[in-house]
Symmetry: C2
Subunit: 162 residues, 2 copies
C-alpha cells in the first residue's frame, strides 16, 4: 500500500500526545471509546459500535454514550474545521484543540445496542475561537438523536495543569 492509498488519519490521530488521553476519543486511553472522526466532503462522520454493557433498557443504548459520542465527535470536528478554515491540508496536523462549552442532545428514538451508530455533522459556524457543530446520529438508517455543540478553542500554549 502506498501513502496515497493509505486510510486517512482521524482528527483524533492528529492531536498531540498530551491531548490524547480522553476517555471518549483519546488514542492513548486504554479503556476508552476511541471515537474517530473523518471528513466526508464538507461534513464529518464517525461510527461508534456500542458495547453490550452500554445499555439503558435491555436492547437499547444508554443516553450517556450517545451524548459522549456526539461530544467527542464534535470536538474533533471543530479541530478539523478550524484547521481547514485556516488553510491547513485535510489529514495534516497537528490540529488546534477545542473543548465543549455547550452540548445539546435531542433523543428522538430508542437506539438499538446491536447496530453501529453513525454520526454525521455539519460545521454550522467556524470562527477563530468558536465552532458550532450540528450532528445527526442514525442507527440502521433511522434517525435516533440530534446534537448541537458549541466548542471553544484552547490557547496553543495551554498545557494540562499548566
Amino acid at each position: 500500500m502506498t501513502g496515497a492509498d493509505a486510510a486517512p488519519p482521524a482528527f483524533q490521530d492528529l492531536y498531540p500526545d498530551s491531548w490524547s488521553h480522553c476517555h471518549g476519543c483519546g488514542r492513548l486511553n486504554a479503556t476508552g471509546l476511541h471515537i474517530r472522526s473523518f471528513w466526508d466532503g464538507d461534513e464529518t462522520v464517525a461510527t461508534v459500535v456500542p458495547r453490550p454493557d452500554q445499555t439503558s433498557l435491555p436492547g437499547y443504548v444508554y443516553g450517556g454514550l450517545i451524548a459522549s459520542a456526539i461530544d467527542c465527535h464534535s470536538t474533533g470536528s471543530a479541530a478539523g474545521a478550524a484547521h481547514r478554515a485556516a488553510g491547513g491540508v485535510p489529514g495534516g496536523g497537528p490540529l488546534p484543540r477545542f473543548v465543549t462549552a455547550r452540548l445539546e442532545v435531542d433523543f428522538l428514538a430508542p437506539t438499538p445496542i446491536g447496530e453501529p451508530m453513525q454520526l454525521r455533522s455539519k460545521i454550522a459556524e467556524v470562527g477563530a475561537r468558536k465552532v458550532v457543530v450540528e450532528t445527526e446520529l442514525t442507527s440502521g438508517g433511522a434517525l435516533c438523536a440530534r446534537g448541537r455543540a458549541v466548542l471553544v478553542r484552547v490557547p496553543d500554549h495551554w498545557t494540562p495543569g499548566g
Copy 2:
C-alpha cells in the same frame, strides 16, 4: 439498626428489575456507573466519583461522564418527583419510569478527576407526562457544569422489546 434509621433507598433502587440494567444508573449493570440519587428537601442530590480513566485532559473529567451523570440523575429525579407529586411516599416504590427527550449541558469550568462530583437539582416542572430537571454540578465547592433535562414518562405497561 432499625428500619427508621436505615439509609433511604435511592430512586434507582426502586426501579423494577427490567429498568435496572442502565450503564449509567442500573443496579444490575455490572460494569456501569451506578449513579444513585436522593431527595434532600425539595431538591435531589447525587455524588459521582470519577475513575482515573474517565479523564479528558490528564487531571480533568471527560465531558461524556458529566453528561451521563446529569442525564441519569435527571431521569431518576423525574421518577421521584412524579411519584411524590402523585401522592407517593418518598422512599416508597415502585417508581414510574422516565426517559430523556432533551439534554442540555453547559460546561463552565474544568472538573478535577480526583474529587467527587456533587449534583444538586431542582424540579423545574412536574406534569403527568413531562418533568424538567435543572442541575448544578460542583466539585470541591466550585460550579463546573449546569444541566437541564426534559424527561418524558414511559407508559407503565411498556416493556423493553415489547
